[in-house]
């Protein structure tokens, strides 16, 4: 009997496949749970980062006063020596918590006064806690947040109002005005002076080229040539001097204008008292956002929350990327992904067409196919090294020698840039596109091809009008996969052109508008930089989540758009027969 049962059990296990069902189902479950967990973590931290918090004032038992936002709290194990020194009330509480003490991460800001952005405070250190109504949070252009109690509104250093209502109404009256002036100044600095610098650089290069030509001519010892080059050089020199003069004049005019603006907007400030009794004058133009944190109504909270998101999405980064926006990184990511797609899709499709439609199927093609599939397994950093070595240092250096020789030894294309990054990622994602396209071409029924040939079409016509349209949805799938991979890749980009802070965008208003040689910011690299390179890591970590959320959203949006297009194509080209 026992024997029989055991046999039966074995048969059950082997043949029924019940075990396999459980195994596969369980595997799927585990992966789903892990993905859901990751997404939830990113969502919670990413979305929660910008919720306005109240200002807490803490009076410590050692007499110190602290004020700021509690950004995090956690339990930790207190060491025995510390524990023994505590009074009974604290000991009781800690015992109840299983020998763990609670501590809070207080964002105290006022970095220029305290030299700290954040401070850990344990529960046992706190004597009492309060939420002062008149305390203000100020997000500033520099030095991070400021926490204080406003005392005076000042113009030219003289108090014009000292009561709360007066300060608020003056703030409202002057803030927009001051910010506008400040923005004007930034725009002059960035755009107009940038343009001037650009032009003068161009002229300088012209002159340098002329002088190089001259010395070249001198080396040939050909009188005629020397004379000619000399003439050109002299002309360029005169041109340059004239240009330089006019530019200098312009330059001075702009500097004067900036000074005027500066003088005007720096007149307005608010005088604050901090919790540790220090006084501080905060200029009005520095204040990006200020609010009485403990008096906010719900709708005001929502307003602050969304205005922070708007700044994040449209603004430029501040404070070593740990504050402000990521617009340049969004822009860089999207532009890089688009350029990459422009390269990888045509190349991938052409390669796949050749392998499927033209090449005779044989050993060579099989080997090629295996090689391509294996390319997908090469670590991405290797592509980065290749991109740097081949694209930047070899190809780029030759381009520099040919077209930008006047600028040498400063590289133009001979260093990392958005073009080389796009090409590197195009190479990285090429196998994906080739494999997807090959499969799509495989799936085109032979009857369609024969129908086309029977109509008298040539091979190319058949590919162009029948095979490619029909394979389009599949090609789109490859494109989607490549795009997601490209947008999320970081390692190779670190080598070939992504930077922490790009001074200029790859697309701007200066001719020729698209600057493929420029380095650029990328969301993936931004995340890496925030998470691992940041000085102020307590402020940066929440931004990691927010930026990750954004990157995931961008990838999802790109995918949804592509999938939408694909489904429309599918309806159009495949449909149902009968």
């Amino acid at each position: 009997m026992g024997l029989f049962e055991r046999k039966n059990y074995k048969i059950f296990f082997r043949s029924k496949g019940e075990a396999v069902l459980w195994l596969t189902g369980g595997g799927l479950m585990i992966s789903l749970i892990m993905i859901a967990f990751l997404i939830l973590l990113v969502l919670k931290n990413g979305l929660g980062n910008y919720i306005p918090l109240p200002i807490t004032m803490m009076e410590l038992k050692n007499g110190e006063l602290l004020m700021g936002e509690v950004t995090k709290s956690e339990l930790y194990t207190l060491d025995k020596a510390k524990f023994d020194q505590l009074d009974d009330k604290d000991k009781l509480r800690i015992n109840e918590n299983g020998m763990k003490e609670k501590r809070y991460l207080l964002r105290i800001g006022n970095f220029e006064l305290t030299n700290e952005h954040f401070k850990w405070v344990s529960e046992y250190e706190i004597k009492n806690r309060s939420y002062p109504k008149d305390a203000v949070i100020i997000e500033r252009l520099e030095w991070g947040r400021f926490y204080g109690i406003p005392k005076e509104f000042r113009i030219d250093g003289k108090a014009v109002s000292t009561d709360l209502n007066g300060i608020i109404s003056n703030y409202k009256k002057y803030h927009d005005y001051v910010v506008k002036l400040w923005e004007e100044k930034v725009s002059i600095e960035k755009k107009e002076i940038g343009k001037l610098n650009h032009y003068i650089e161009k002229e300088r290069l012209k002159l340098k080229k002329a002088s190089m030509d001259l010395s070249k001519a001198k080396a040939t010892k050909n009188e005629l040539k020397i004379k000619e080059a000399q003439a050109i050089y002299e002309m360029s020199k005169a041109e340059f001097d004239a240009f330089d003069k006019s530019v200098k004049k312009n330059y001075e005019r702009l500097i004067d204008k900036i000074d005027d603006l500066k003088k005007e907007y720096e007149r307005y400030s608010i005088h604050f008292l901090t919790v540790d009794g220090k006084e501080k004058d905060v200029k009005l133009f520095e204040m990006i956002r200020s609010y009485y944190a403990n008096q906010l109504t719900f709708s005001e909270k929502v307003g602050v929350y969304f205005s922070r998101w708007v700044e994040f999405l449209t603004g430029e980064p501040r404070e070593a990327n740990s504050e402000g926006g990521v617009f340049p990184a969004i822009f860089g990511t999207v532009v890089m992904t688009l350029i990459m797609s422009m390269f990888v899709v045509p190349f991938g499709v052409i390669a796949a067409i050749y392998m499927k439609e033209y090449a005779k199927s044989g050993k060579l093609i099989s080997i090629l196919r295996i090689a391509i599939n294996n390319l997908a397994g090469v670590p991405s950093i290797v592509y980065g090294v290749f991109g740097l070595g081949f694209f930047a240092y070899t190809l780029g250096a030759s381009i520099d020698k040919l077209f930008y020789s006047a600028k040498l030894p400063n590289p133009t294309f001979g260093t990392g840039g958005i073009l080389w990054s796009s090409l590197t990622l195009a190479l990285l994602t090429l196998p994906v596109v080739i494999v997807a396209t090959e499969e799509a071409i495989n799936a085109v029924p032979n009857s369609l091809r024969e129908g086309s040939y029977a109509c008298g079409a040539t091979k190319w016509q058949t590919i162009r009008y029948i095979v490619l349209p029909r394979a389009m949805p599949g090609i789109m799938t490859g494109f989607i996969l490549a795009m997601s991979r490209g947008a999320g890749e970081v390692a190779p980009l670190m080598l070939v052109g992504a930077v922490k802070l790009a001074p200029e965008m790859p697309v701007d208003s200066i001719f020729p508008f698209v600057h493929l040689e420029r380095s650029f910011m990328h969301l993936g690299f931004h995340i890496y930089d925030l998470g691992f390179q940041s000085q102020n890591s307590d402020a940066a970590i929440p931004m990691v989540y927010t930026t990750t959320l954004l990157l995931i959203t961008i990838v999802v949006v790109l995918n949804v758009v592509a999938i939408y297009i694909r489904n429309r194509l599918r309806k159009k080209f495949i449909g149902s027969i009968f």
Binding site: S452, A454, C455, G456, T458, Y465, K572, S576
Partner: protein, 274 residues
């Protein structure tokens, strides 16, 4: 029964022709046609002339080489690189397997309708004018005219004239097959090759196609493969019976069906084997 048939073949290997064929003017001639799929021979010394302006049916059991033969005529077998063809085929007296033959030009003279409807994934209009467009015809008036004319000959015009811009994949199976016929006749070929055009259709759609074939007769030469004896009897002027890669008997349809000369043909037609 099959055994005896095979044996009789291996000994004789001679096709029986109907003398009535001698009265016809021929458009296509197959001369000693042999075809090999790799090492496997699929056609054995086929000699067959297809009369101009008539409908010729090819019948025979599955796998006997009907499709292969049809595809030799418009050289579709060339697409398979493991196929070897010996012998010759002439169209209007000129060899189509000559090196100088332009395949596109040849195929434009030979319209083809496949067993399963294979409309292209584009609009009805685009489908019909596809052969003209790839031929370089750009003028809209010519294309429009050709489209209307072929759709009318294919008996589809009334059903689709209001939705020419719709995707062809939205048509029913029978409509799709008639669309493929319209596409095949759009460039006004000399010959139309049909490989079981009705095998995927219901009786009503089949009837329409048969009417269509009858109406094409005279203007076009039609070669049609079919498994349906009644169909062959209804639409064709001449019938060829094939078996195992051989052309067995070829003659006037009425003669083949009423008094076949060979017992094998009779057996096949009366459904006693195959």
């Amino acid at each position: 029964m099959e055994e005896t048939l095979k044996n009789s073949f291996d000994t004789e290997r001679k096709t029986v022709y109907d003398p009535l064929l001698n009265n016809e003017s021929m458009i296509i001639s197959l001369k000693e046609l042999r075809l090999f799929y790799g090492n496997k021979q699929a056609l054995f010394n086929v000699n067959m002339d297809i009369p101009k302006g008539k409908v010729t049916a090819l019948i025979g059991p599955s796998g006997c080489g009907k499709s292969t033969l049809l595809r030799c005529i418009n050289r579709l077998n060339d697409l398979l690189d493991f196929v070897r063809i010996e012998g010759d085929i002439t169209l209007n007296g000129e060899s189509i397997y000559d090196k100088s033959v332009d395949l596109s030009e040849l195929r434009k003279k030979l319209g083809m309708v496949a067993q399963k409807p294979n409309p292209f994934p584009m609009s009805i209009y685009e489908n019909v004018v596809y052969p003209l467009k790839i031929d370089g015809v750009k003028k809209k008036s010519i294309l429009d005219e050709a489209c209307e004319k072929s759709l009318k000959s294919a008996g589809l015009w009334e059903e689709v004239k209001d939705r020419l811009k719709d995707n062809a994949l939205g048509l029913s199976g029978g409509q799709q097959q008639r669309l493929c016929i319209a596409r095949a006749i759009a460039p006004e070929p000399e010959v139309i090759l049909m490989d079981e055009p009705c095998s995927a259709l219901d009786p009503l759609a089949t009837m329409k196609i048969e009417e269509l074939i009858l109406s094409l007769r005279g203007d076009y030469t039609v070669a049609i493969v079919t498994h349906n004896m009644q169909q062959a009897a209804r639409v064709s002027d001449y019938t060829a019976f094939m078996y195992m890669g051989y052309l067995v008997e070829y003659g006037n349809t009425i003669n083949i069906f009423k008094k076949p000369r060979l017992k094998d043909t009779e057996d096949y037609i009366t459904g006693r084997f195959g």
